[in-house]
Subunit: 151 residues, 2 copies
């Protein structure tokens, strides 16, 4: 049982990045780009939740998705923007982002800075639904969202 | 539903500190000193866990306690030390501290700096057991722990 780990955001001793998704790609049409994930805590004895650290490279983005479980996000490094449809906000340390159940969401790093954030979820949760072309078209009806999603 | 909150560690808009414990005191014999708590997330729809931010004033300490649930701690501000018996470590941002079930633990701020940390717990959890005189005496048998606990 490791009780202590020295670390800086994104660089914890003994915690390697896990694949964010098996479908990673540099394709600009890919559902995400430049995202790494590290599992910091849980699920484990006495804790039925998990705390993960995600870091998005400058110019990168997470998948546009929704699910029945909630996300609780604490930004801890860099700069970027978050979509929690239909709201869009710029984010920086230590802003909080709540993603309610069933809400389309995506995080983007700034073009010139990474975006690092903690994300809390229940250990038992449903799988995300990725946005399809019809979903994206519907989201683009809001000009703020369209500007966030970019071409 | 508030989706975004601007903030810096310890200063989030619209999130007031809650009492850390009804028995707060400036008595040096008190079980804790100079601790504030803010509930950042949960429990809420889609999330059966809670993320709290604790800040310990310079020279302060949290209660020496144990419980069956685990704590998952991410230090985000200042400096201090943590006891996860029998281990003691100095901590700084973004060190991780895992408190396994049934383990006596306490966090102290440095004398000249606060200590701010996020603490993740399950929403459903047992109440902490505070250390009594016999527990403290047993813990002091380890010189590293005795040095942490101080007189």
């Amino acid at each position: 049982m490791t009780r202590f780990r020295k670390g800086d955001a994104g660089r914890w001793e003994g915690i390697d990045p896990e694949p964010y998704d098996a479908g990673g790609s540099d394709d600009p049409e890919a559902p995400f780009r430049g995202v790494s994930r590290q599992r910091l805590f849980g699920p484990e004895e006495g804790l039925d939740a998990a705390l993960r650290y995600f870091e998005v490279e400058p110019g990168g983005w997470t998948a546009l998705e929704r699910h029945r479980h909630a996300h609780a996000v604490v930004v801890v490094r860099g700069r970027g923007a978050a979509l929690v449809a239909p709201e869009v906000r710029e984010v920086a340390p230590f802003d909080l982002v709540r993603v309610p159940p069933g809400t389309w969401h995506q995080l983007r790093a700034a073009d010139d800075a990474p975006l690092g954030f903690l994300c809390l979820v229940d250990a038992e949760r449903d799988r995300p639904e990725r946005a399809g072309p019809d979903d994206v078209e519907a989201l683009r009806a809001d000009p703020r969202v369209a500007a966030f999603l970019r071409p």
